[in-house]
């Protein structure tokens, strides 16, 4: 069961429209590594997880991704406010505008509609958690390309940490409290994060 809070998880206050940037950022909403896919991935994978710690984490992260989805949509919305016809044509936003005007619609930057084929839910914990790590890595990589110095980069680090820990737990068949590899998981994750941030 879900309820809605009338606030953004991170504030968005964009002064100047930039339809070209909006089209790039659009992939973070409905693209192959976007927030819609992320949320559906985690919320769908919960049911096959063998440990409570994984069910809880996928529930909480899948829920947080819904909040990320709203942040990205707010960014696109604010970047496409008060556009002139000249801006639309010159920026390359025209093809999107023809189909959706400035409505928010889940597609990749290149115009491919959102597809569930962007994620997997295999019914196997190791397969799914490995995919989760890869997906978060891909999302971070894309975000780093668009906004290399922005704080939003860090919003995803927590979930990478968590997937790394969960994978350790499932692999070792241990409960959270018996998991001596817990800190190894955190360290692994930090190394992964550092590698991504330096790439």
């Amino acid at each position: 069961m879900w309820t809605y809070e009338k606030r953004l998880q991170y504030p968005v206050n964009i002064k100047n429209p930039d339809p070209k940037l909006a089209q790039f950022i659009m992939s973070q909403y409905g693209g192959p590594d976007g927030e819609i896919g992320a949320s559906l991935r985690y919320l769908s994978q919960r049911y096959a997880m063998p440990y409570d710690v994984c069910k809880a984490t996928l529930t909480d992260i899948g829920t947080e991704e819904l909040a990320h989805m709203e942040i990205v949509a707010a960014i696109i919305h604010q970047l496409t406010r008060n556009l002139t016809p000249e801006q639309i044509v010159a920026s390359g936003f025209g093809p999107y505008y023809i189909d959706h005007t400035t409505g928010i619609w889940p597609q990749s930057s290149g115009g491919v509609p959102f597809s569930a084929c962007a994620f997997q839910s295999k019914g196997d914990a190791i397969t799914d958690l490995t995919e989760d790590l890869a997906a978060d890595g891909a999302l971070l990589h894309q975000r780093k390309k668009i906004l290399p110095h922005h704080k939003c980069f860090h919003l995803q680090c927590g979930s990478i940490c968590s997937f790394s820990i969960q994978l350790d737990i499932v692999r070792n068949g241990l409960s959270l409290y018996a998991c001596s590899d817990l800190f190894d998981g955190v360290v692994d994750c930090l190394i992964v994060s550092l590698r991504i941030s330096r790439a």
Partner: protein, 101 residues
């Protein structure tokens, strides 16, 4: 109000309809359902005093049932943890497993 007798009769004995947890959960489900409905009504009828009064009534019912449940049986949301020693939020059974907390 909906009758959820059949739903609970399918659950394991520990959370079956005879338990106190199931009784509170039934009240919570009913109050929540009523709240969902009156919220939709108010979205399109924002100046209806009767609906606003009914909203307050079911909101309080829901809040009481929520507190009663989470006091005794653990959190239903991840900001309701009462324990200072154990993160019971992760404890199953989860809703899709027939669990109630």
């Amino acid at each position: 109000m909906i009758n959820s007798r059949n739903i609970y009769s399918q659950l394991p004995p520990s959370v079956g309809e005879s338990s106190e947890a199931a009784r509170i959960m039934q009240v919570l489900n009913q109050a929540s359902f009523a709240l969902d409905d009156v919220v939709l009504y108010l979205d399109t009828h924002p100046a209806d005093p009767d609906a606003l009064s009914y909203y307050q009534y079911v909101k309080n019912l829901r809040s009481q049932a929520m507190n009663a449940y989470t006091d005794q049986y653990g959190p239903l949301r991840n900001d309701q943890e009462r324990s200072t020693t154990n993160w019971t939020w992760i404890s199953g059974p989860w809703p899709w497993e027939g669990g109630m907390n």
